[in-house]
């Protein structure tokens, strides 16, 4: 049978149990027997593989899955995996059987068993995996199933939730360290195999385990540490041990199975698995030894302080796991035999004791040691099981635990290092305390007086079968070393060894006996002793601190997230400045470059430019300083105008015209928008900006500082850029020479309408999109109802639903309406239209083009909205329909672009309609050329005018009315 099938079997069981049909058709007993039988069969199969393994030492089976990533489904069976596999299936069968009687509720049992069977599959996959990554996946699966099993009672118990989370947090954290360690190990293995080529990632265990110089790799300390971290967290080593007692909220079968027999030994398994290639390095060996011994001692001390039966067992488990880790750290596999014997002995007695604890919980509804006592009479069978298992734990001759303790002490005694004495002391003290814990289990729970009010209800008999069988094993296994245990160990331990049940009255035996006596003596003084013990360092407290700090750090970092865009900008600009400084190139580049211009002589036009620049600076300062928004906005407009004048001085009238018109438009829009804000609100903002702020000085200085720094950075950067411009060919000359080709005398016009005509066509589409965007943002409630809102017919004052403030706001927006301004407004529009038409017609030979024409007309219209207000402007200009203009403009543009195709020219080709119609000279005498460019300019003008109209209408729409509209539309929703 393929090992893949062995691994898959428990998963299939989990799926089977999860089916609704199973739940409804199979009773609890059937499910129990089925699960137990499956695990027993797997156990039998593994036993059957024994002779084959004896012949071959290692069985490797492989299913190619993902060669590119180094992942295949490969299985690896040797002595160590076989031992773990036997424990998982053997103990598993007993636990599955036990669980059938532990749970009274069938549905609960079913839910539990699904997870437990899933866990069994994951655990089997872990120990049978022949690939590091598959091993890791199984490793994480055990963490997740463990999480679910610990939190099984989470709906009822806060402790279960917390314990589950804690266990997952610690083991997953360790697992993430592990994966990095494994990735590095795999990469290192690849480099060791083929040093010259980067051969990538090696994940196959059988390959890695053949490398004997892996520990010489430069990365070894790092990945060894990471892998050890993963193993320590999983196997509950100090200081990560605290999750294991927390995990005792799990139902007892899970505790017995996961948190004693199998999952907590996963770390030990991986250490044992990798030790052959890792243990040559001191870091690996000493790390295991140190942490293991510390864990052994700490676990034993905590164990005797526990009042919860399962807590005691959990800490005793921690101690034993520490002992096994320490053994694996002994140089040259000296401790491997002792470790494996320890694993067997521990699995036998600790699972039995956990099941005892579960049975007591089931029978007495408490696990508190103080509330138990005198159970010997009520539960005699359980008593004897406990006696045998606990004494095995204490190490009484000739139980299985005795063999384990003998080999442990023997191995440590033969460890020759300066600190051997200390090692022995730690081991003996821990052993004595473990013995004390074992006595307490028997004495406190089963002997003595039964406390009052303790009621016992007899559990079903089959619940005893599992623990009894295990106790029996503990009892007889010592006498079956030769036929059973030794052949198994020979598969795993390469050196020759002997494993006698009784090695004679040597020093180890006396130590062992001394430990038992010391434990008994301690039992007499246990109460004062346990009260005295305090331990300053608690991993749990550290965990809590870490959790608190994580929370704190999250909140602290959150303070940067103020929600104000201006602070975000400061952060972004600050980071950019940092990046530029950090790039370090500023100084190296400026070193050899000129920062200031060489030629400082000036002409009259230069002076004019300087004057305009000064004007810009003054206007910018005024924008910031002026208290009233309208004045500030006008000052802001002056900046643009000054720059426009500079363009004029530089012989660029087209650019200057565009600049000025756009600036005017922007200023007008800003003023309209400011008109929408209630005067009260406006004053409040200004006051809070300029006065009445507690942190006025700090805030002001800070903002000033930031502005100066950013301004300086841009200044220096621009200066360097201007002074060190690389020479490039300019395309300006080409444009000037070829303008005549498109019957134009104006290079700018030619570029816009012809040379880059397609760009312009797309540009007006973009402009339209932008206008629609403004519409979406500002005119939300109105558009929802479909289309433009009609102007309000009724006089504003008489609508009672508007509050006084809103009315005031509307009046305020139209306060510019005087007879004079009305006259000007009416007069300006026709003039603007005439100017626009002129700009379009003569755009080819003079300043101005379609864009400026559109803006000019749009400006005149916006004046109507400013002076007369939204409603009156809409009433008096019924022909002004921005959306229609946009459509019309785009259609003309596209038709004009496509038309040349019909005439056999390219897309947007240049067509001279006047020549084609024979009226070239006629219109030429007016200085006109009727070309495709002209129509294109018309399209641009209409689109721009429409887009501006959309924006103006959206902005000028009274805010209070918008709110009311939304109120109405809300009813529709």
């Amino acid at each position: 049978m393929h090992l893949a099938l062995v691994t898959a079997a428990p998963f299939c069981l989990a799926l089977l149990l999860a089916l609704p049909q199973t739940r409804s058709h199979l009773g609890k007993t059937t499910q129990t027997l089925l699960s137990t039988a499956l695990m027993a069969a797997l156990f039998a199969w593994l036993v059957g593989a024994f002779p084959l393994l004896q012949a071959e030492q290692v069985i490797v089976q492989r299913l190619e899955w993902m060669p590119a990533l180094g992942i295949s489904l490969s299985f690896y069976l040797d002595g160590v995996s076989l031992l773990f596999g036997l424990i998982i299936t053997g103990i598993g069968a007993l636990i599955f059987f036990f669980a059938g009687f532990y749970f009274d509720d069938a549905a609960e049992y079913n839910r539990f068993m699904v997870w437990l069977a899933g866990f069994a599959g994951a655990m089997l996959a872990l120990v049978l995996s022949g690939n590091l990554l598959m091993l890791f996946i199984a490793w994480e699966l055990t963490s997740v199933t463990s999480f679910l099993l610990i939190g099984f009672q989470g709906k009822k118990q806060e402790a279960a939730r917390e314990g589950a989370f804690k266990a997952l947090f610690v083991t997953s954290g360790g697992a993430l360290a592990l994966i990095i360690g494994l990735v590095m190990l795999g990469a290192a293995a690849g480099q060791v195999i083929t040093p010259e080529a980067n051969s990538g990632f090696v994940a196959e265990l059988d390959v890695i385990l053949k490398l004997d110089n892996l520990h010489e790799h430069a990365w070894f300390p790092l990945f060894a540490t990471l892998i050890l971290l993963g193993c320590f967290t999983k196997s509950a080593q100090f200081p990560f041990h605290f999750w294991l007692p927390g995990a005792m909220s799990a139902p007892t079968p899970a505790s017995a199975y996961l948190h004693s027999a199998t999952m907590v030994k996963a770390g030990i398994y991986l250490v044992a698995r990798l030790s052959p290639v890792m243990t040559q390095h001191e870091l690996w060996a000493n790390g295991l030894l140190g942490v293991g011994l510390l864990t052994m001692l700490v676990g034993a001390i905590f164990a005797i302080k526990q009042s919860d039966l399962k807590g005691l067992l959990a800490y005793a488990t921690v101690s034993k796991l520490g002992a096994i880790m320490a053994l694996l750290g002994l140089p040259g596999q000296a401790g491997l035999k002792a470790a494996l014997v320890g694993i067997i002995a521990h699995a036998l007695y600790k699972s039995a004791l956990f099941m005892v604890a579960g049975t007591i919980d089931h029978a007495a509804h408490t696990r508190h040691i103080g509330r138990l006592g005198g159970l010997r009479k009520e539960l005699p069978g359980l008593f004897w099981v406990t006696v045998i298992s606990a004494l095995s734990m204490a190490g009484l001759p000739f139980l299985m635990g005795f063999v384990a303790k003998e080999t442990l002490l023997d191995a440590l005694l033969h460890y020759s290092a300066p600190w051997t004495a200390l090692v022995m002391l730690v081991a003996l003290v821990s052993a004595a305390l473990t013995a004390l814990a074992a006595y307490m289990l028997i004495g406190e729970v089963f002997l003595g007086q039964r406390p009052r009010g303790l009621r016992i209800h007899k559990p079903p008999t089959p619940i005893y079968y599992g623990p009894a069988l295990l106790a029996f094993c503990s009892l007889v296994m010592g006498f079956l070393l030769d036929p059973l245990i030794i052949p198994l160990l020979r598969l795993a331990v390469t050196k020759s060894f002997s494993l006698p049940l009784f090695a004679g009255f040597n020093e180890v035996f006396w130590m062992s006996a001394g430990v038992l006596v010391a434990g008994a003596l301690l039992y007499l003084v246990r109460k004062p002793l346990t009260a005295r013990i305090t331990f300053p360092l608690s991993g749990d407290a550290v965990y809590r601190e870490i959790i608190n700090y994580i929370d704190w750090a999250g909140n602290a970092l959150l303070h940067f997230q103020s929600g104000y865009v201006r602070y975000y900008l400061v952060w972004i600009l600050g980071s950019v400045s940092l990046m530029l400084v950090a790039s370090g190139t500023l100084s190296t580049v400026t070193a050899g470059q000129t920062l200031l211009p060489q030629d400082l002589s000036m002409t009259a036009t230069d002076l004019a430019k300087i004057f305009m620049l000064l004007l810009t600076i003054v206007a910018a300062a005024l924008t910031v300083v002026l208290r009233e928004h309208v004045k500030a906005a006008i000052a802001y407009g002056v900046i643009g105008y000054a720059i426009g004048v500079i363009f004029l001085i530089n012989h660029a009238p087209d650019v200057a015209l565009v600049q000025m018109l756009v600036e005017t438009m922007a200023t007008v829009l800003i003023i309209i928008m400011l008109g929408q804000i209630r005067p009260g609100a406006r004053l409040k903002v200004i006051d809070s900006l300029w006065s009445g702020r507690h942190d006025y000085n700090f805030g002001f200085l800070r903002d000033l500082g930031i502005s100066i720094v950013i301004g300086l950075a841009v200044f220096v950067f621009s200066l360097i850029a201007l002074q060190n411009r690389p020479d490039r060919h300019s395309i300006a000359k080409w444009h000037l020479e070829n303008t005549v080709l498109v019957n134009s005398e104006d290079a700018v016009g030619a570029i816009v309408a012809d040379f880059r005509g397609t760009d312009t066509l797309l540009e007006i589409a973009v402009f339209t999109t932008a206008a629609l965007g403004v519409l979406t943002l500002l005119a939300r409630g109105r558009v929802g109802g479909g289309g433009r809102p009609a102007p309000s017919k009724a006089p504003v004052e008489s609508t009672p639903e508007f509050d006084a403030e809103a009315v005031e706001a509307i009046q305020d927006a139209t306060s510019l309406s005087t007879p004079f301004t009305r006259l000007v407004t009416h007069f300006v529009l026709p003039v603007a239209i005439l100017i626009g038409i002129a700009q379009i017609l003569y755009g080819g030979s003079g300043p101005g083009d379609g864009f400026t024409a559109g803006v000019t007309i749009g400006l005149a219209v916006s004046l109507w909205y400013v002076v007369l207000g939204y409603d009156e402007a809409r009433r008096q200009l019924p022909w002004f329909r921005p959306e229609q203009f946009v459509r019309l403009g785009l259609v003309i543009g596209i038709v004009n672009a496509l038309l040349p195709l019909l005439l056999g020219k390219g897309f947007m080709g240049h067509v001279q309609f006047d020549k084609a119609l024979g009226i070239y000279d006629l219109v030429g005498s007016f200085g006109l050329h009727i070309t495709s460019s002209l129509f294109f300019e018309i399209a641009i003008a209409i689109t721009v005018m429409g887009g501006l109209g959309i924006i103006i209408e959206a902005i000028a729409y009274p805010q209070s009315r918008a709110a009311a509209d939304e109120g109405l539309s809300a009813v529709n929703i």
Partner: protein, 512 residues
């Protein structure tokens, strides 16, 4: 005489055929505008259906153009490149958009917004992302970025819903405005950076930059300065789009305010676009030329620092979030950090390909998982934005077992637990980082993943291990969202369980 080429000449010369996936989507979208116009009251059915069909058409076109055997080819006079990188990311974008459209169908119905332009803007934005992953020229990067972003600005402001008190919730508008202002700001950086790179190298074409750059660097003149500063500014501009620290500030505000499907969409497509451009610019154009001692690109340190900051901040701040959408927003910052790790790894000579492949697989995994998580959030969230808190998910395992199971798988995938797609992505990214010698960065990545387990598992704990005090949660969602969840779940599991799949898909990718 000055003559333009005819259409036929243009089509052949520019190799328009290889741009079909993107151009077809745009063309289809423009047709959809008309369909929407005439659909009238039926538009709530027809427009999303049309949008899905358009995505399908583009998907099929993509399969034809990027058949595995096809060589890379350029189009539009070298401005557009169609290679395995483009093809793979196109698929990711199309699937992401499909999921977002399915979610939107439900969202718009519940919010009572039946506006066709919603889907049109969604498709246009995705087309922008598709052009961006195919951009072979800085100009195209910029134009595609704007096509990607501008519809998203509008979509972010799309939600006009009243809250419980009957007041209009302005969060959505605020979100759109903030996104727009900061987006415009970052675009300026991008353009400035592109201009400087052009000034230094005399070209905006990415392969051509690669050709001339070594000479520019050797000259050690002002041009070198422009190149380095230009690169830095390009990183800033694109860093904003992918939301990495310190250019991430807008993310939580925008994500929380925007309609949930839009948040889901922009957390994926905008990032894909940004990362694709970053990869192309840094790995293709600027890797070899800025190699300093030891075969490491000069920008690697900067990217590494950004990645580390992003990982730490994104993960830690997510812990403090009670609102699931906001939590996912911060966690999306963190995930950008993991992709940044791959990008940093690509800066080491020789590991560019494996790092790029890692980034792509991560993006794929993140797309399925994150959209799935957002879809689940949609099922419990009310349209006014209420009901999406972590406490509202309590007891979901009892009231909606399948939904809770799906959410659990998404959370496990976001944490990076094996058998989910998230693990495959994280594994490939970390393996690439280790291979590139960035062990420290990989360790930071791992440690912050532990932190992320903290807040992702809190969701699972709340669903499974706590009982809701009150009644069972009602099913708010429609069949469309369920489909979105199913697809996302299938992707998460299929790419997680059969992990050869993802790595085989990207095995042809090479942009270095």
């Amino acid at each position: 005489m000055f003559e333009s080429p005819t259409i036929a000449e243009f089509v052949t010369q520019s190799n328009l055929a290889s741009t079909l996936p993107g151009t077809l989507l745009v063309a289809w979208t423009l047709l959809l505008v008309l369909v929407d116009l005439f659909a009238g009251d039926e538009r709530e059915h027809w427009t999303p259906l049309g949008a899905c069909l358009g995505l399908g058409v583009s998907f099929v076109a993509n399969l034809f153009v990027y058949a595995p055997a096809a060589d890379q080819q350029t189009a539009l006079y070298g401005m557009f490149i169609a290679d395995a990188f483009t093809g793979f990311l196109n698929i990711v974008i199309l699937v992401a958009t499909l999921l977002a459209v399915l979610m939107s169908r439900d969202y718009l119905m519940r919010a009572g917004i039946h506006r066709g332009e919603y889907y049109i803007l969604t498709l246009l934005s995705s087309a922008g992302a598709m052009f961006m992953v195919a951009a072979n020229d800085l100009i195209v990067v910029f134009v595609a970025l704007e096509l990607l972003s501008i519809p998203l600005y509008i979509l972010a402001a799309f939600r006009s819903i009243k809250n419980d008190g009957g007041e209009l919730a302005l969060k959505s508008e605020e979100s759109g405005m903030k996104y727009f202002i900061l987006g415009a700001f970052s675009s300026a950086f991008l353009v400035f950076g592109a201009a400087l790179v052009y000034g230094a190298s005399g070209t905006t074409n990415i392969p051509q930059i690669l050709e001339v750059a070594p000479a520019v660097v050797d000259a050690a003149s002002s041009a070198t300065f422009y190149l380095v500063v230009g690169t830095a500014l390009l990183i800033v501009g694109l860093g904003f789009k992918v939301a990495v620290v310190p250019f991430h500030m807008w993310t939580p505000d925008v994500y929380e305010g925007a309609p949930t499907p839009v948040t889901a969409l922009m957390s994926v497509t905008a990032k894909i676009g940004g990362f694709a451009a970053l990869l192309r610019i840094l790995v293709t154009a600027l890797s070899v030329l800025l190699l300093v001692d030891g075969g490491v690109a000069a920008w690697q340190t900067t990217i590494s620092i950004i990645a580390a900051l992003t990982l730490v901040l994104g993960n830690f701040v997510a812990i403090s979030q009670r609102n699931l959408k906001r939590m996912l927003a911060y966690s999306s910052i963190a995930h950008a950090g993991y992709i940044m790790v791959a990008l940093a790894a690509a800066g080491t000579a020789g590991s560019a390909d494996s790092a790029t492949q890692g980034a792509l697989v991560y993006i794929l995994a993140y797309m399925f998982t994150n959209l799935g998580a957002f879809a689940v959030v949609m099922t419990i969230e009310r349209v006014d934005g209420g009901g999406g808190n972590i406490d509202d998910i309590t007891g979901l395992a009892r009231s909606r077992p399948l939904l809770a199971m799906a959410m659990t798988i998404f959370m496990l995938s976001l944490t990076g637990i094996p058998l989910t797609a998230g693990f495959v992505g994280k594994f490939m990214v970390f393996a690439a980082a280790v291979q590139a010698g960035l062990v420290g960065l990989a360790v930071i990545g791992v440690l912050t993943s532990v932190v992320s387990a903290f807040y992702y598992m809190r969701v699972v704990v709340n669903m499974y291990l706590r009982d809701s005090s009150g009644e069972l949660l009602p099913a708010l969602e429609t069949v469309y969202v369920r489909w979105a969840i199913n697809i996302a779940l299938a992707g998460t599991l299929i790419f997680g369980i059969f992990y050869p799949l993802a790595s085989n898909l990207v095995s042809m990718v090479s942009i270095a």
